[in-house]
Structure formats: structure tokens, C-alpha cells
């Protein structure tokens, strides 16, 4: 009698126990990370998918990478399309001021660590030797919301008494992707006289042998300012935020994640050296520049 009751009990609850014991695919919470497009969607995804998988492994949630165009970033964040943000430092400042996004970690890459600088460059031997020489010349900027490809250089010119709207011959932004590379090559091969080049791109292109260290004259250079940044919506689960921050700061060059059955080195794939814990006040230099240049989030019409 007792054995029979026990058997029935077992038969009744066994399927439930088995189901509870399984931790199948998709059973974990899904959290989205919005990644600002660098050059194009394909490149951004291949860079950051291993990092997204790494964070999923470390934090026990299924992170989903959402590619986001720079100009749509605030609108899509506001619409609730993603909780975590990966963007340039100006977008972070905009999201912080307008939406209360909190700073999580800052990307380290290049000589200035979690910072980089913007520079105005001319080709060596072009006759343009100092900043004052750029009056009446053809200048190329990087993308409009780029802190070290537009904002810093615009500010450098204003500080030197040069109004880009009136004092240059022309200024333009190269079309399509790889804008930073295009304008550096554009100066090298004579399409533009001057370019607003991020120092990080000069470093990378020199390292890759695409340009030589002495191909250019650096006419002016900004102070180093924070670069790519992870942020998080103010209402996010504090325990998860803590886990993500820990995981980012703990990332080492040897750490891997699996993407499509392949083990990939996370930092190498993302082209970064690691993550650092900056303070929100470290972004004040970006805020001051944005105010001087009349750019979001302080733009006045």
C-alpha cells in the first residue's frame, strides 16, 4: 500500500521535478545592450558579440546585442529598446543629462588609456604648419557626434579664434563608413588640406602600417578626454549592474567567449585593452566642450 502510494506520488511529481531541474536555453532573463555603430553594423556586431556572450556567461542573464545608429541612440534608448548602453563619451553625456543614464565602465585603448584626443592634421610639406594657416582651406570632419573627430577639433578652432563656419574655405564630412580613416587618407592624398582626426585612429593606422608617424603635421591637439563608455539605465536591477561592472573590470586579454561554436578572445575581438572605472566628473571636459561648441545636450537655437 505504502509502496503503491509512493510510486504514484513519484510518477506525479517526477515530470515536474525534471522540468524544474532543467535550465534550458532561453530560460534566463533577457537584457539588451545597445551598441553604437562604429563603422557599420556587421563590424560592430563582430566586435561586440564575444563581449556580449562573455557578459551573459558571467552574469547569468541572456544579453542581446542591439546595433544602434549614433543619431538614433537617444530616441531608441528612450523607447526602452535597451537597458545597457555602449556609446561614445558625448552620447553618454547626452544620455546622462537627459535620461539619467549612469556610468558603468570606460574602454581602454591606445596610449591615453580610457581617454583619447582630437587633432587637426595637415600633410607634411603642404605648407600648412600652424593652426592659423587653415583659414580658407578645405577641412574634413569626422561624424558630427564624434567627441574626438568633430567636437574637440571644432572647439580647438573656436579657442584659436577661427570660426569654422566662416573662416574655412569649405568643410565637409566624408560619406559612408570608415569616416575617420577616409579623412586621414584624404589629407595624405590631397583631397582635403586639413582633417579633424582622432588620435586613436592615427595611432592605429600607424601601428597597422597604413600611414607613417611623420606623414602629418599636428596643428593642434585637445586634452585627452574619455572615449567609449558603458552606461546603464537608472532603473536597472542594481545586482545585475554590479555583476556587469565587475565582469567588465575583470576582463583580461586571455578571456574568451563562444560565438557560433568558436572560442574567441573577447578583448582582441573588440579591439580594446580593457575597462577602467572613471568618474562621471571625468566627463566634465566633454561637457565644457559641448557647451562651447553649442552641441547636445546643451544646444541652444
Amino acid at each position: 500500500m505504502i509502496r503503491s502510494t509512493f510510486r504514484r506520488f513519484l510518477l506525479l511529481f517526477l515530470p515536474l521535478l525534471l522540468l524544474a531541474g532543467c535550465k534550458g536555453e532561453g530560460s534566463r532573463p533577457v537584457v539588451k545592450i545597445g551598441y553604437m555603430l562604429c563603422n557599420n553594423e556587421q563590424e560592430t556586431m563582430s566586435r561586440f558579440l564575444p563581449l556580449t556572450r562573455y557578459l551573459s556567461d558571467k552574469c547569468g542573464v541572456d544579453f542581446v546585442a542591439v546595433p544602434v545608429d549614433t543619431h538614433d541612440f537617444e530616441k531608441r534608448f528612450k523607447a526602452g529598446e535597451f537597458t545597457f548602453t555602449h556609446s561614445n563619451s558625448l552620447i553618454y553625456v547626452i544620455l546622462h543629462e537627459n535620461e539619467g543614464v549612469q556610468l558603468l565602465a570606460s574602454e581602454k585603448r591606445g596610449k591615453f588609456g580610457a581617454r583619447s584626443a582630437g587633432a587637426l592634421i595637415a600633410r607634411k610639406g603642404s605648407g600648412i604648419e600652424k593652426l592659423a594657416d587653415i583659414r580658407g582651406k578645405r577641412l574634413a570632419f569626422g561624424p558630427m557626434l564624434a567627441p574626438t573627430g568633430y567636437l574637440a577639433e571644432y572647439d580647438l578652432m573656436l579657442s584659436a579664434g577661427i570660426n569654422p563656419e566662416h573662416d574655412l574655405g569649405t568643410y565637409s564630412i566624408p560619406p559612408g563608413s570608415y569616416k575617420h580613416e577616409k579623412l586621414i587618407y584624404g589629407v595624405l592624398y590631397g583631397q582635403y588640406d586639413v582633417a579633424a582626426a582622432p588620435i586613436l585612429d592615427l595611432e592605429t593606422m600607424t601601428r597597422e602600417g597604413k600611414i607613417a608617424a611623420d606623414d602629418f603635421v599636428i596643428l593642434a591637439q585637445s586634452k585627452p578626454v574619455p572615449y567609449c563608455t558603458f552606461g546603464v539605465a537608472k532603473g536597472a536591477d542594481p545586482a545585475l549592474v554590479k555583476k556587469v561592472k565587475e565582469a567588465l573590470l575583470a576582463l583580461k586579454p586571455a578571456d574568451t567567449a563562444e560565438v557560433d561554436g568558436e572560442r574567441i578572445k573577447v578583448l582582441k575581438a573588440a579591439w580594446i585593452d580593457g575597462y577602467e572605472e572613471l568618474l562621471d566628473s571625468d566627463y566634465d571636459s566633454i561637457r565644457e566642450m559641448a557647451k562651447r561648441v553649442n552641441m547636445p545636450p546643451y544646444q541652444k537655437y
Partner: protein, 179 residues
């Protein structure tokens, strides 16, 4: 030859003198070799040191020229190539630290000096022709004020704590602490 006791004693003494002489010769020969070898090694070390200083002057000359011309960023780009070619050479990191400091990147300057001093302690040695003791002392003072202040205001910040640890490492090396 060994007819009587006198002969035997004479031959025994002669044999003893020969053995003693041979032993003395052998000992003197060894000691002379040691001195010569020691002297040779010291000369070799001196020559290697001078050669290193000369090589450093040649390798990093273009970087110094750019710095003198006020072209710090160009100097950094040039230096990057040299650091990749000679990753074990401390001088590149020391120069890089000096340039980064001039460019306002204090935390990165500290990290670069730390890497350089770890590779070669000559830079904290006041008697070395490569000494950067004064610059390192200045960096430590500024680091303790700036990074130390920020770290104290943000006790949970790991990046600041790591930077401060590097400042303290340089401070300990200035005080005579070994690697």
C-alpha cells in the same frame, strides 16, 4: 739510490718540496685566472653599459628631436614603433611617461614610468647617466596629490586604487626598495 736512511730522507724531502711547489703553482694559477676573469667581466659590463647608452641615444634621438620641436604627439607615434620593436628596453617607457605627463595624462604617465622602472632600475639611481630620479620624484609628488586625492574621495574605485599602487611602487623604489 735508496742505500741508506739519509738517501731515503733526502728523496722524501725532495718529493715533498716538488709536490708543495706544484700545489702552490696550481693555486696561484687559479687565483690569477679569477682576478683576470673578474676584471674582464667588469670591463665587459662597462662596455655593454656604454654601448646601451649609445644605442639609446641613436634609437631615441628622433623622438627627442620631435619633443624639442614641441611635437609631442608625433614623438608618441614614433615611440610606439620603437616600443613594439624593443619591448624589453625600459627607455621607451620612460620617454613615453615623460611625454604623457607633459600632455596631461598623469595616470598613464605613472603607468609608463612604472613599466620602465620595473624593466630597469637605473632610472631611479642618482648615479646612473640614465637617471630620471628628479622627474620620478616630481611624478610621485603630483601622483600622491592628484591620484591620491581622487582615490581617497572614491574609496571603492579600483582603477584609482591601481593607479595609486603604481605611484606607491615608484615611491618605494625611490626610497631604495628593491623589485
Amino acid at each position: 739510490m735508496f742505500n741508506d736512511t739519509f738517501d731515503k730522507i733526502t728523496w722524501a724531502l725532495l718529493a715533498f718540496v716538488i709536490v708543495a711547489l706544484a700545489a702552490l703553482l696550481a693555486m696561484n694559477h687559479g687565483a690569477g685566472d679569477g682576478k683576470a676573469a673578474g676584471l674582464g667581466k667588469a670591463v665587459e659590463r662597462e662596455m655593454a653599459y656604454r654601448a646601451r647608452i649609445e644605442l639609446i641615444g641613436k634609437l631615441y634621438g628622433p623622438v627627442e628631436d620631435l619633443r624639442k620641436a614641441g611635437k609631442n604627439q608625433e614623438a608618441l607615434l614614433k615611440l610606439d614603433e620603437l616600443i613594439r620593436s624593443y619591448p624589453g628596453e625600459a627607455h621607451g617607457y620612460i620617454l613615453q611617461g615623460e611625454i604623457l605627463r607633459e600632455m596631461g595624462a598623469l595616470d598613464e604617465a605613472v603607468a609608463s614610468f612604472e613599466a620602465g622602472v620595473k624593466l630597469n632600475g637605473d632610472y631611479v639611481d642618482a648615479r646612473s647617466p640614465l637617471s630620471r630620479r628628479g622627474a620620478i620624484q616630481g611624478l610621485v609628488d603630483e601622483g600622491l596629490r592628484s591620484i591620491g586625492g581622487r582615490a581617497a574621495a572614491n574609496p571603492g574605485n579600483r582603477s584609482l586604487a591601481a593607479s595609486l599602487a603604481k605611484v606607491n611602487y615608484l615611491k618605494s623604489r625611490l626610497a631604495g626598495g628593491c623589485e
